[in-house]
Amino acid sequence: MRKLPPVDVVLVGFGWTGAIMAQELTDAGLQVLAIERGAWRDTPTHFPPTTAPDELRWYWRKEMFQGNARDTLTFRNNRDQVARPMRRWGSFLPGEGVGGGGVHWNGQTWRFLPSDFVAASHNTARYGALPEGMTVQDYGVTYDELEPHFHRFDKLCGIGGKAGNLRGQIIEGGNPFEGPRSAEYPNPPMHMTFSQDQFIRAARELGLHPFPGPSANLTRAYVNPLGCQLAPCSYCGFCEKYGCGNYSKASAQTTILPVLMRKANFTLKVQNEVLSITRDSTGRRATGVTHVDVDGTRYEQPADLVILCAYPLSNARLMMLSGIGETYNPATGEGLVGKNYCYQVMTAAQVFYDDKFTNGFVGAGALGAAVDDYNGDNFDHAGLGFIGGGYIANWTTNARPIETHRTPEGTPTWGSQWKAAVADNFLTSTTVGAHGASMAYATNALDLDPTYKDVYGQPLLRMTYDFTPNDRAMARYMSERTTEIARLMGGREVKVVKREGPYDSMPYQTTHNTGGTIMGTTPANSVVNRYLQSWDVPNLFVMGAGVFPQNAGYNPTATVAALTYWAAAAIRSQYLRNPGPLVQA
């Protein structure tokens, strides 16, 4: 083990949260080192327009994502089963390499609702005690506290959209349910196409409040506050699961790296995997990390501050491998690391037209229209048997034919009839989907697998997860609401895609894995405090959606980024002056 010279800050992982944190802490004058286990990636070399639109390579052969060969996770639906490794990715697609999952996201850039941050106290006050087994809790931070940080991320990315609530004033055409914004979106909304026009008309007929989806696909040329230049989106239909060759999708590469990489006080190590967080003899202070490069050489990297910026599943695992905090045990309810693993509950309805062309290839990751009338607590849940909800949207993200070939109800899955149905409906169909919340339950959790190991001999992470009673009741309700809209969109027929049976780890759903390193109000209910600082080890911070105590009915990226800016501000304004716990236990 080679011991390296100390640095002020070591960041574990270098995607969205790592890049934001590095930019903020180098601005504060600190020497920052980011350690990324994947490769360096830049737009012209790794995903230019000449190689980016390749469905087989990036998605089906998974070249865009974390490789499974060296390290994966094991999965089971419940504790009575033996977990088996996810030998290839399916339901979600963690990123690897510089930019992380932020290279292959869609760019649907939502803020959680004010009530989402206080889900336990809000719902308890309105509907009474939470059901047995539900472990939902408050975040410990409020929407109002995060708003300036949401705003910074909007500006960094050049988000396109239409405000619905500007400093408390409801604005026609935006989302009237959103928390108050301090400013209009930096850029106008995406250009709606035929399908969105039908969705908007149908939603209005139902008395709902449609608006254009907030987008990190650039709607016009934009220079962000760091001076990075982004170009208008060309609606090529290769966003989610692909890198953008046009500099048209906000990512670490397009919004931060051109500035950050040139700073003298920033260093990036790639193809180096962090194996553990080291601590002093008290166990209360992190001394740095150990890491290994692809040649197998091991290093000890001392640092004053350790910040976990990897994917939530990797952050939780690194805490467990390092023995920081107690791993949650669902049998006893004790321990916190790995607790409240949540996901996203998706339902959908497909609309088929006879003589209208939806032309889905004219698409973009965040080209869509949405309604928020059935999200969070925007509607009365009395008697419904669940809390939470989701936005319902009609996105036109792609017509990539291996992945997206809708067929009407009753079509066989192969043969001449299948082929004819695919041909007839490929350009004349669209999907309306509900993006449902996922409420925490005592039974869903992460821990270390007792059997399977990674290439370094360390235990894989084990996921125990199934849809919960709340999820199922919510999914039924959201499916009905989604279908109502779909039926008014003027199509020949509607096919309802039901969410039934156990959670299946293989069909793609979303890469919105949350929890495991949850935030909260006391060391008794959370791994990190409201500033994302470890209760146990005050010079350790944990970023990412792993800190969500439960997941809301939105895509997580903007909330992840806002929490990162919030934590960075606390480190700069409070921690550096007086290193120690920012919240007294």
């Binding site: 035929f194 208008p232 060309s234 090529c236 990489m261």
Partner: protein, 245 residues
Amino acid sequence: MADGHWSRRHVLAVSFQATLAAAAAPALARTIRGEMPWTPGQVDAPYPFDGARFLTPDERRCVSAMVERLIPSDARGPGAREAGVIDFIDNQLAGFYGRGERWYMQGPFGPSTPEQGYQFEEPPAGFYRRGIAALDAACRERHGGRVFAALDAATQDAVLAAMEKGAFDLPSGVPAKAFFSLVRENAIEGFFCDPLYGGNRDMVGWRLVGFPGARYDYRPYLNHNGQRITLEPVGLKGGPTWNPR
């Protein structure tokens, strides 16, 4: 070269090797400071169809017969046969995909649930080999010594339908449903992938459905308002319309 001139063929060969060298640059651990580490003229290139095969001639006949029933050539136009789906699958099985190089293939292997996905000890190429042998053995047993490829289309369809339902027992513990499902997945890949990979030959899959392929700018069409957009498809290497006339 002997006369001191570079032939066009030689230049192409050299530049192809250069491309490969750039693509195959090994992933190295490195430390980056004070710069954007970008080198001009380097692209992380795909691994195109290279003619390599994994399947034996008999195995190829079996898989060809399967995919030609899954995506038949019929009144609606070309199918898996014209698209070269078998060449695509064979080449994929001969490469990193067939070897499961990017999959977690450490044991132990044991009983699993459908929700846990692929849990076979062999990577895809080996699973195909075992699946084909089992399918042909089962067909011989039930259909007078004839292998799957030798059955008539209606019988092949009946066998595939039973496999899909899990109602067709295969020997050697091969789960018929999982084998069917993998072949179907690969057939669809081969029918709709970029022609770079040996399938979707002449873009017949894309033409069937109206997908314009690897174009990268649809801004002129945003106001389509439900009208059909008809565009000649292009692949990553271009398209027939790019050829000189």
